[in-house]
Symmetry: C2
Subunit: 165 residues, 2 copies
DNA sequence: GTCAACTATCTTGATATCGAGATATACTTT
DNA sequence: AAAGTATATCTCGATATCAAGATAGTTGAC
């Protein structure tokens, strides 16, 4: 099946035959697919009254395991947002009583963000729904193809996730 | 090389062994990689005084070929933003004299957005830089692996790009 | 031809994000 | 122990985005 990136690449080869646009075959698809996924997630979460950014924070805390707490800094590396954004997110989640801020006993600069019981419920309730939706999207591929795809993507994410930045 | 998604999946398997989180192996990597790419693009474009959203619009017009014009609607499907966002983008690009709005001669509701010569220069100047950066990111993979990866991603983007929505 | 349904674009208000800098605390070197 | 450097989080202002609805023009059924 042809997609928008096929059309885009064809157009560039006509307009700029001097350039090798092969990188777009992979990376434009990654960017576009991520935007499609965002839209789908936004729609799915709105049915349970949750925003994608709320899901990201609550589930990061949930999978940390009891007592479901992480520093804002740890949340930054998991969610790839800036510190100003995370402060704002924690403020809003705290106002909704889904998380609470505690002083870090080991570092007086630091803070621990802890899931409240209501926050934990929200996290658990939304995860199953997300997985169902994602499974439908991935039904295009065989189990073996999904493994292959995950492995190739890991090669690209690995450097970003391990080199500081 | 292990990445953040490996850690995330391991954590879920410990915390929620009742759920099959295999879909995250693919789709969380897509979302995270897209965010890394956004950051890298933002940095690279800032060196030539361009925002990623400006690049997206200018290059869509550029690859349409002479006379470098498209309707706002066509730009929507290429950039995956809402109509309100696109109106705003066109306004700002027009204020910088990178594009201009023309009435569509065939539909009086419609508008055509056309690249100015300055806009065309910006588009051409920025594309080569982007490709260089992307080539470096993709150097992790062999040519054959890149083709494989592009093909697998197309299977996922195809349905989104072809089913209306 | 007229009316209803549809389409293309724009307007508006609320909100989330970013970048840069501020503040407070911790660590390291001498 | 003082000074300088590094780290953790927050503050603030500017800006881009979205969702929903408004406006204007088109199309098709009759």
């Amino acid at each position: 099946m042809e997609d928008e990136v096929d059309r885009l690449v064809t157009a560039w080869r006509r307009e700029r035959p001097d350039l090798d646009v092969e990188p777009l075959e992979v990376l434009s698809r990654v960017s576009r697919l991520a935007r499609h996924l965002d839209r789908a997630r936004r729609l799915a979460f709105s049915e349970v009254g949750l925003e994608p950014w709320e899901f990201d924070v609550l589930t990061a805390l949930r999978r940390a395991g009891a007592p479901y707490q992480l520093s804002p800094g740890a949340l930054l590396t998991q969610t790839l947002v800036t510190s100003g954004t995370m402060t704002n997110r924690i403020d809003r989640l705290a106002k909704k009583d889904l998380v609470e801020r505690l002083p870090d006993p080991n570092d007086r600069r630091g803070v621990l963000v802890r899931l409240t019981p209501a926050g934990r419920d929200k996290a658990d309730a939304s995860l199953a729904g997300l997985l169902t939706q994602e499974r439908a999207i991935l039904a295009e591929l065989s189990r073996e193809q999904r493994r292959e795809l995950a492995g190739l993507l890991r090669r690209l994410t690995g450097p970003f996730d391990n080199i500081p930045g």
